[in-house]
Symmetry: C2
Subunit: 239 residues, 2 copies
């Protein structure tokens, strides 16, 4: 099939074809892809090669397979996105689901740290979302979110945003968040923290600095979360 040094396995090439088509929106979230056999015929490879690609994309959570039905584009449903990227829980385990407190949204020129963190050019604009989220009815999380405005045209006109922004990004703007890079630190509550989530100034706050990356590879969100740390932990399993 080819000569040595530039050797690239067939399934790699098929993988790239499928990812490219996905990114171009040839299939929409929730839709079924062609069956293994049909795609194999179309691309002139064996079913096993397509299967290997679909299996890999399923492991990456890009696709979902259902025996007897077909292969589908994975959806960032509310609940799914919650459990995948939202890690807050009570000590000992019970997962928590946040509800919305208040939010403001505006579009403005990107500031230097935003340009740097989001890999934006000099004249880029960002959407800034500030919101407070509640856990069990109590203000618990302050979030300051910066989005590259070109990825989310008109998001500021939507009005009330859903609890899980990631399912909104996908459904309305075709932006599928694939991975996030988070940096956690402990800080002391500021006077703003006190005003917005009611903690005493100087009490300990868990700060989560997150960059979210979408498919295809691009930094699609910068989110700074300040979380009250009384009776609340960030729970994660490493494997």
């Amino acid at each position: 099939m080819n000569e040595t040094p530039g050797f690239r396995p067939l399934y790699r090439q098929v993988y790239e074809i499928v990812v490219r088509r996905l990114a171009q929106g040839e299939w929409r979230p929730g839709e079924a892809l062609p069956s293994e056999l049909n795609l194999a015929k179309e691309l002139g490879v064996s079913q096993g090669t397509v299967r290997k690609v679909f299996d890999a994309l399923t492991a990456e959570k890009v696709l979902e397979r259902h025996q007897g039905k077909g292969t589908f584009i994975a959806e960032n449903t509310q609940e799914r996105a919650q459990f995948r990227f939202f890690r807050l829980a009570h000590p000992g385990g019970k997962r928590l689901t946040p509800t919305l407190g208040s939010e403001t949204i505006r579009v403005r020129a990107a500031r230097p740290p935003e340009r740097e963190r989001l890999d934006l050019g000099r004249d880029a604009r960002v959407v800034e979302i500030d919101r407070v989220r509640l856990l069990e009815g109590v203000p618990a999380i302050r979030e300051i979110i910066a989005l590259p405005a070109d990825l989310y045209p008109g998001i500021e006109k939507i009005g009330a945003l859903p609890n899980s922004l990631y399912s909104l990004y996908q459904a309305k703007f075709g932006v599928t968040i694939m991975t996030t890079h988070e940096e956690l630190s402990a800080q002391l509550a500021t006077i703003d923290d006190h005003r917005q989530i009611g903690v005493a100034t100087g009490s300990p706050i868990l700060v989560i600095d997150r960059i979210a990356v979408c498919l295809p590879e691009r930094k699609a969100e910068w989110r700074l979360s300040r979380v009250r740390s009384d009776n609340l932990v960030y729970a994660i399993t490493l494997t």
Copy 2:
């Protein structure tokens, strides 16, 4: 091969056989397993079925495969264990490697919280390790570690412990840490924190509460880490 409701794929059964043999120490860390073809013949299955099992265990980081050489038991080498389970870094990215400050080790009866967190019986004993670790030469981490004593016979007589305990657990006691469950919170530095890692009392501290699980499934370590949070973050990628 079998009737419906209790259907278990062949590769599942092979998987369980291999894991059992691994846990029984039939092969030691760093050693090669039988080749796909040989194990397939021995078990009376096809090479493809063994391949599927080896691939799965490789994805779980239990095995390592090397084309032309063979399939090996993954080693928790110092560096590998570092990067896998040690998540502290400078803000923005540079990974850090801790060095040892001081440590004490003793064996004693398990206290109720230890029995509860480690699933131990009424008369169980634990090994307690208290140590201070340095980052870039500065005391930065206090760790209080509790181990089920029966898993680590004689560990208190070893003397100086290595920087990465997990490679010690594996090499000396056959305990391979597979996953860890961590809960992070922010707290204020106590007077003990001040004495041991030099931070001002009342400054913010990142607390990591970790349970480590070994192969076969058993809670093999409880570790409480208190980390100074100035110019230091816990960095993690979610996928």
